[in-house]
C-alpha cells in the first residue's frame, strides 16, 4: 500500500536536502555530527532515534530556527540560513512540547497564526475553516487555551502548523505524551493530509512503531549521526528484524557507529 502511494505522489522534486549538518552547542555538546539526507516532494519522512540523538536539532535547523555549525540544508532549493524568509513561507512547523498562548482562545490563536500566512481575506477564511476541521475542537475553540487538555492542545497546534497547506510540514514528536486515542487521531490527520494535499512531511519520533505505520522512508539517528536509512520494509529485511525497534537495536548496538 505504502509503496503504491510512493509511486503516485512522489514528483522527483527534492523537498529537503541536508548535507553534513554539524551542530555544536558548547565544547562538550556535539548535537549533530554530520547528518545528510534527502526528502523528495510528497514523501513522509521519519527521523527516529532515542532522546538526545539529534532529532530536534535537525528539525530546528530545517525550520530555520538554528544555524548549523557546519554543513548546509535546503528546502525546495532555498538555503535555510541564507534564504530563511523564503523557507519560512514554505514550511509549517510543530515544535516539540510546544504550547499556545494561554490567555487566547483556540480560535484567536489560529487567527493570529493565519494572519501571518494568508495573502488575502478568502485565503484567511479558508485556512481557518481547514484548521477547524483538522483540530476537530468544535465549540471548544472559543475557550481559552489554558483550559485545554494535552490532546486538545496538540490538535490545535497541528492545525496551526498545517492549515495553510505548507509544502513541507515539519512535525517534531507529533504524538509524544498523548494517550492512544489522541495519538491515533493525530496520526490519521497527518496521513490523510499528506495523501490529500500532497504535502511533504518531515517528522521525528522516538516511537518506532508509529513511524513504521506513518512513514514512506525513515532515517535512524544515533549520537548525532544517521546510522541507517530507507523504507521501513527494506530496513527490516536488510537487518532481518520483525520491526524497526529491533533494527535500531541492531544498528546502534553493532558498535560500528557508536
Amino acid at each position: 500500500m505504502a509503496s503504491w502511494f510512493l509511486v503516485t505522489k512522489v514528483t522527483g522534486v527534492v523537498a529537503v536536502k541536508a548535507e553534513g549538518l554539524v551542530k555544536v552547542y558548547s565544547k562538550d555538546v556535539r548535537a549533530l555530527d554530520g547528518v545528510s539526507f534527502e526528502i523528495e516532494e510528497g514523501e513522509i519522512f521519519g527521523l527516529i532515534g532515542p532522546n538526545g540523538a539529534g532529532k530536534t536539532t535537525t528539525l530546528r535547523i530545517i525550520a530555520t530556527l538554528l544555524t548549523p555549525t557546519e554543513g548546509r540544508a535546503e528546502v525546495f532549493g532555498y538555503d535555510v540560513v541564507e534564504e530563511s524568509d523564503k523557507v519560512r513561507e514554505l514550511i509549517g512547523y510543530l515544535p516539540e512540547e510546544a504550547g499556545a498562548y494561554k490567555n487566547l482562545s483556540g480560535w484567536e490563536f489560529l487567527q493570529f497564526i493565519a494572519k501571518f500566512r494568508a495573502k488575502n481575506r478568502p485565503e484567511y477564511e479558508d485556512m481557518l475553516e481547514r484548521a477547524r476541521k483538522i483540530s476537530a475542537l468544535g465549540d471548544r475553540l472559543n475557550d481559552r487555551v489554558k483550559a485545554y487538555s494535552k490532546g486538545m492542545l496538540r490538535r490545535l497546534l497541528v492545525a496551526a502548523a498545517i492549515m495553510h497547506i505548507p509544502r513541507l510540514a515539519i512535525l517534531d514528536e507529533p504524538t509524544s505524551g498523548l494517550d492512544v486515542v489522541n495519538a491515533v487521531r493525530i496520526r490519521d490527520i497527518i496521513r490523510s493530509f499528506a495523501e490529500k494535499e500532497g504535502v511533504t512531511v518531515l517528522l521525528s519520533s522516538h516511537n518506532m512503531l508509529e513511524v513504521e505505520y506513518l512513514c514512506d522512508r525513515v532515517a535512524i539517528i544515533h549520537k548525532g549521526r544517521i546510522v541507517a536509512a530507507g523504507p521501513p520494509q527494506e530496513l527490516k529485511e536488510k537487518y532481518g528484524a520483525p520491526n524497526l525497534e529491533e533494527v535500531f537495536v541492531e544498528v546502534a548496538g553493532s558498535g560500528a557507529f557508536s
Partner: protein
Amino acid sequence: MEHLANVVKKELLELMRDQKFIAGLIISVLMFPLMGTIVGGSIGASTAEKSVIGVVDYDGGEYARLFQEYLSESAEIVRLRSLEEATEDLNAVIVIPEGFSKNISSYLKADVEVYVILASSSISATIKSSKATGAIMGAQGRLSEYVVENAGLNPDFTLKPVRIKEYTIFEGKVAYVPPEVVSNLVFSQVAMLPMVIFMLVMFTAQLAITSMALEKENKTLELLLSQPVNRMTILVGKLIASLILSLISAFAFFIGFSFYMSQTVPSSTENIVKNININELLSLGVFPTPVSSALLLINVLLGLLAVMSLSVVIGAATEDVRSAQSLMGLVFPLILIPALTLMFTDLETMPLPLALVVIADPFSHPMIAAKAAFTNNYSQLLLSAAYLIVFSLVSLYVASKLFASERILTLRFRWGRRRRVLSLF
C-alpha cells in the same frame, strides 16, 4: 504593517488577560485613594473638630477671665479644680497660678503652665494637640492687643510696626509671590512627576519582561519564530504593546495618586494661589515651556525604549515568568535609586560619587529631565536626551541582534550559586 498590528493585538490580549496584570492595575488605581481616604478622612475630622482644653484657674482675676474668654474662641474649655482631674479626653491643660492678673496689670510678665496631653501616637491626636497649642498662642496675642489698647496705643501698629512684602527669587528671577507658594508648587511638581515617571518605567519593564517570559513559559517562541514574519516586527510589536499597557497602568496610577494628593494636601495653598497674581508666578518660569515639555516627552519615551529593550533581553534568557521577575531585581535598583535620590535632593547637592552614579544610570535621565523641564533647563534636557538616545539605540540593537539570531532560543543566564542571592530581591 499588518503583521505588526497582528503581533501587537496578540500581545495586548495575552498580557491584558493575565490575572497578575489585572490585579496590578486595580491595585495601582486603588492603592493611593484608599490610603488617602483613610489618612485624609481622619485628618479632615480632626481639623474640623475643636481641641478641648482643661483650665485650672487659681487666680480668678480679670485677666485670667479674659484669657479664658479668648481661649474659648478657638477651643472648647473645661473648667477643672486641679491638674489631677485631667482626663485623656483633653488635648491640653492650662494652669493659671495665683497673681496672674496682678502681674499683668502691673506690667510684669505672668506665668501659665501648659500641659499638652498626647493621648495616642495617631496623626489626628497629634494634630488636635498642636491645635490646642495654637489656641493658647492665639489667646496670648489677643491679650497683648488688649493690654496695648488699654495703655492708649494702637495695637495694630505697636505689635506689627513693620509691613513685610514677600518676593521670591527663583532661578535668578524675581516675582512678587510668597516663597511658600512657589516652594509648594515646585514640590508638588517635582515630587509628582518623577513619581509618575518612575511608575511608568517600572510598569514598562515589568510588562516587557513578562511578554518575553510568557513566550518561554508557554513554549510558543519556536512556533512564532518559524512564521514568515520579520523578527524585528515581533520585537517592535512587543515593545509597542508593553508601552500601551504601561501607559494605561501609569494613567490609572496617576488618577489614583492625584486623588490622594487632593485629599491629603490641605487646600490652603490653593487659597493663597488664588490671591496672588498668576502672571507673577508665570514670570518665575516654574512651568515648562512647550519646548521643555516636548523635550521631556522625548526623554521619557527614550527611557522607556531603553528599559523595554533591556527587559526583553532579560526575559528571553529566562525559563518562565517567575524567574523573569526575580531577574527584574537586577534592573529594579537602577530605576529606584535615581527615583529616590532625585525626589529628595538635586544633582548639585548630592555627594559627588552618588551624583556620578546617578548620572551614569540611564534610567535617572527621564527623572532628571522632569526636573529640568520645570526650570526650562534646555541644555540639561538635551544632554539627557542625547545620553538616552545612545543608550536606547545600543540596547535596541542588542535586542534586535538577539531576535535575529538563534540565541533568542538558546540564551540562558547561568546563575548557579548566584540564584540564592537573586531570589532575595
